[in-house]
């Protein structure tokens, strides 16, 4: 791990430093597990949690964190204030976003199948085109609520373990290229952290929802990550 800004003062009273590295990792895993369970309860279907954990991603490849840079994704973003400021981001490939919303709101979004409400995504039905989905206020509300619940489940665990308050902003929903969104998030992180690390600390996981493995990625970045405030982690 290369921390470039060596002039940044150590802050022994910082909440992130009250945990050992192992405790920090355990909190991250528990938080992601809770987030997966919340997503399962919300969608009423099984959710597999894949590739959960924290990694240190080279700055140059960060925009490819969830696939090729030009992949069209729906991003639901929450800014987090408090002693661990940062960003929580739920990214869904465009098709997955449609499938997820349809699975939760099928009849409301115009399908003929009145029985489909609240069920898992139906493989026989084409998902809504992303442009129609994003023009639908109810679909946007559902996406925002998914991040609200999933992100909050993760943040609640981190807040409990660290004994700090983490205050998320209301979620905002945008659709764009994954690379454009992730590099913007990264630039914001580096600017606010006041440092440039060659490796970017990021908590991320892939959720595979239902039988069709609808994909969703939860990402959390903090400008006060332990690796940015002290040099012995990891």
């Amino acid at each position: 791990m290369s921390i470039i800004n060596e002039s940044k003062p150590r802050c022994n009273s910082h909440p992130a430093l009250t945990l050992s590295h192992a405790e920090w990792q355990q909190a991250v895993h528990e938080g992601l597990k809770q987030a997966g369970e919340a997503l399962s309860a919300l969608t009423g279907t099984s959710v597999r949690v894949a590739e959960a954990g924290e990694s240190f991603v080279p700055l140059a490849t960060f925009p490819r964190l969830v696939g090729p840079e030009e992949t069209l994704v729906v991003a639901i973003c929450q800014e987090i204030e408090g002693l661990l400021p940062g960003l929580a981001l739920l990214l869904l490939p465009a098709t997955s976003a449609s499938q997820l919303v349809y699975g939760m709101l099928g009849p409301v979004l115009g399908t003929e199948d009145e029985e489909a409400g609240g069920a898992a995504p139906d493989p026989a039905v084409e998902p809504e085109p992303i442009s129609e989905l994003l023009a639908d206020d109810m679909a946007l509300s559902v996406l925002a609520e998914v991040e609200n619940i999933v992100g909050s489940s993760f943040l609640n665990v981190m807040a409990d373990k660290l004994e700090v308050a983490l205050i998320p902003s209301p979620p905002s929903v945008v659709c764009d290229m994954a690379g454009a969104l992730l590099e913007t998030v990264l630039a914001s992180l580096l600017s606010r952290a006041g440092t440039v690390a060659d490796l970017v600390p990021v908590v991320h996981t892939t959720f595979l929802i239902g039988d069709r493995n609808v994909q969703a990625y939860l990402i959390w970045l903090s400008t006060s990550h332990p690796s940015l405030v002290r040099r012995d982690i990891p």
């Binding site: 840079e69 800014e79 764009d176 454009a180 969104l181 590099e183 913007t184 630039a187 914001s188 580096l190």
Partner: protein
């Protein structure tokens, strides 16, 4: 050009991705050109296109000397170094990327007084409350630096709330911008180079 999308796709196999903070320099007298990676020095490359995929708040800076057709490109991430010390590569920052590229272009035979520039990117794809709009600042600082160096910006595709991809075909002097991986548009048709 009859079918821009077809042209872009036909070159997809020989693309050189200019990633965050990366840069590339093309010198037409060589077999294909020169590219450079931070930390590894210059490498020759057979790439026929330099590409910045998914530009959000970042800005692609393109400099060219129409006289020699030497062309350079950088993927600028931040307006200025966030810490006290500018951490390499200097092409990460709007304050230092122009002079970094110009120095290397001039070393290969370009003339600074002939250079022209294009800017692509600098969007605000996410409205983040807690930070300055980095995309806007990136564009502003690059314009200031280029003005200070006497280099005119002759084309831009900047700002807005959507991401862009820039394709640069240095052998033709052709610059193509797409929005969301679609809607390809010509930013420069190569006419400046007599092509």
């Amino acid at each position: 050009m009859q079918n821009l999308e077809l042209f872009v796709n036909s070159h997809a196999a020989t693309v050189r991705n200019v990633g965050l903070g990366d840069f590339a320099i093309f010198v037409p007298q060589t077999t294909a050109g020169y590219t450079a990676n931070p930390g590894s020095g210059d490498n020759t490359s057979t790439a026929t296109a330099f590409v910045c995929y998914g530009l959000g708040s970042c800005v692609a800076l393109i400099l060219a000397d129409p006289g020699t057709r030497i062309l350079a490109m950088a993927h600028v991430v931040l307006p200025h170094p966030p810490g006290d010390i500018p951490v390499p590569p200097l092409t990460r920052y709007a304050t230092s990327a122009p002079s970094f590229l110009v120095e290397r272009m001039v070393a290969r035979g370009a003339r600074q007084d002939r250079l022209v520039a294009w800017l692509v990117g600098g969007a605000q794809v996410l409205a983040l409350k807690q930070t300055e709009p980095i995309g806007t600042r990136n564009v502003e600082v690059l314009r200031q630096e280029l003005h200070r160096m006497g280099i005119p910006v002759i084309g831009e595709a900047v700002g807005g709330t959507f991401g862009r991809t820039l394709y640069c075909y240095p052998q033709r002097g052709l610059l193509v911008v797409s929005r969301g991986g679609q809607r390809h548009e010509v930013l420069h048709d190569g006419s400046l180079f007599g092509l």
